[in-house]
Amino acid sequence: MSLAFLIHRLVQLIVVTFVIALTVFAVLRLTPGDPVELMMGRDEAVTQADIDRKRRALGLDRPLHVQFIAFVGGLVTGDLGMSLVQQRPVATLLRDRLPATIELAVAAMIVSFVIGIPVGVVAALKQNSAVDRLIMSLNFVGLSLPSFWQGIMLILLFGVVLGWLPSLGRISFDLVPARITGLYTVDALLTLDGRALQSALAHLVLPALTAGTAYAAIIARVVRSSMLEVMRQDYIRTAWSKGLRPRRIVFGHALRNALIPMITIAGLEAGSLLSGSVVIETVFSWPGLGRMVVQSIQGRDYALVQGAVVLLCVLYVMISLVVDVAYSIVDPRVRW
């Protein structure tokens, strides 16, 4: 991997971020309805002077290009303005919400890999058997499931009928987690708080399972086909003829190479989980970024929408950069 490639991708990242910021800004300004009037309500006591004063205080009376330059300048310095509804700095709100989204995304990725990889390997080793056919059929179902519905059905089964798992929020209401990283499970471990850890983990199970299912299906599919391809390679035949044990061949030789495409999948998954957890966070009342985007759009809280959407998009773009770089490190044949 050359330095030129890295620089090229970083420049690209900056350009794309600028385009995203411009698009989000333009889209929000095209929205019918004035945010300040919406915020102050249709109260008789509110005069035009009040509205004008508020607008001036928020900087909304300035020409659009000045507002945009201020917005981009804010992005660079980390000052994203004030939330119109919550009257708190957008940057603080985002910082409070980000760990919840990351924690769910990481848990969902673990779920999808733990399910997807072994299932894919088994399907490949037993190609065209009944087991393989069953796995591939379930696979199709996994890919066709509406995730929010799956979440509600899991709540129905494990929360309502069986009563095994909590279905809403990140932790029990009576527990106040220590705030170090914002990831409740990690914080509970750091403070050796067993009760908090148990509660945080229990709250994670259903959302992570819901978010991880579709990707488990995709991973199983990719692992299966890439295992099938790798098992036909010459070096695998060499390994067999050397008389190595099957387990060694499968895990030591084949799987290692069959897992290379997983980097792309993991990147795609991380990107879509960080940004696409909107629906699942809503199902489980998970206090993450996705839910905040929904609420802020509904509440026409422009500064917050702007900040949250740009943050999610930048995360998404950055992950695809990391994937490209990781790929060229793991597979030296890939060169730019």
């Binding site: 794309v16 066709s144 499931l145 509406p146 519905w149 799956q150 059905m153 990107g271 909107v278």
Partner: protein, 301 residues
């Protein structure tokens, strides 16, 4: 714009036509694909004849009959096969009308994004140069946005509505058609038959639309089924979040959202529409898999 050159395309037309027919017959050899096709057609019929199938007005409820379970269960009413919701509206009638929303949006999105993305991909791949660079950059920028976030943002601005759903999901989805068609055309344009058509004096637009387009059509249709399933899921997700259809339009996604509040007592309210989404999307995917195998067994998306 499209010029027809007599004779130049005739050979190709018949052969492409013949291949398509044999592909269709071939498709019927796949039981899963036949199953998929049958279920999709059944949903299309339900959607088309929803007013005849639905026993009740989907928006008209009777509070005396609220929250009744589906038929064989205790307290159920024979008139309401799938039960009633919190306002006493008939679930089956809402489901029938919900099929309209899902299919209209799904097919609308595939048609619009497929047409726009496909045409632009054809043009970019065939002419290359500056047009290609500009269009590819636009596609990259669109794909830099997370799909659902872009859709929510635009729906929040445009407001709920079926037409808006089609437009928004097409804006977010056209680059997929663009990229695939562009890549396919880049390969096709170097082939001998294209050279031959040019040598025979066929106009560039004729070569592009009559010769190349026919040879990349099968790839297009396979992608179209994949995107159809995704469009149905996206519409359901947006309607679930409240960014999809207006409140008075029954859609499967918004039915699930309404039913979630009653999941402890009236599970059928969220279970039934979800099963319908699953069945429709599953059938579309099975059909797509069958199409892929029928057109070209080596093709992988």
């Amino acid at each position: 714009m499209i010029e027809t050159v007599p004779g130049a395309g005739a050979q190709d037309v018949t052969s492409a036509h013949g291949r398509r027919r044999s592909s269709l017959r071939h498709l019927l050899g796949y039981p899963t694909a036949v199953f998929g096709l049958t279920v999709v057609l059944a949903f299309v019929l339900i959607a088309a004849f929803a007013p005849l199938i639905a026993p009740f007005d989907p928006n008209q409820g009777s509070l005396l009959r609220r929250l009744r379970p589906p038929v064989p269960l205790e307290r159920s009413l024979p008139a309401h096969l799938l039960g009633t919701d919190q306002l006493g509206r008939d679930v089956m009638s809402q489901m029938a009308f919900g099929a309209r929303v899902s299919l209209t949006v799904g097919i609308g999105v595939v048609a619009l994004s497929g047409l726009v993305g496909g045409l632009l991909g054809l043009v970019a791949g065939y002419f290359r140069g500056r047009t290609d660079t500009a269009l590819s950059r636009l596609a990259d920028w669109t794909l830099a946005f997370p799909y659902l976030i872009l859709a929510i943002l635009l729906m929040g601005v445009l407001g709920p509505g079926i037409l808006n759903l089609v437009i928004v999901l097409s804006i977010a989805g056209w680059p997929h058609f663009f990229r695939l068609l562009r890549a396919e055309v880049l390969v096709e344009r170097e082939k001998a038959y294209v050279e031959a058509a040019h040598a025979l004096g066929a106009a560039r637009w004729t070569v592009m639309f009559k010769h190349i387009a026919r040879n990349v059509a099968h790839t297009f249709f396979v992608l179209a089924t994949v995107r159809l399933g995704l469009a149905v899921l996206s519409e359901a997700g947006l309607s679930y979040l409240g960014f999809g259809v207006p409140p008075n339009v029954p859609a499967w996604g918004s039915m699930i959202a309404g039913g979630q509040n009653y999941v402890e007592t009236a599970w059928w309210l969220s279970a039934a529409p979800g099963l319908a989404i699953l069945l429709l999307v599953l059938s579309v995917n099975l059909l797509g898999e069958g199409l892929r195998d029928a057109f070209d067994p080596r093709m992988r998306l």
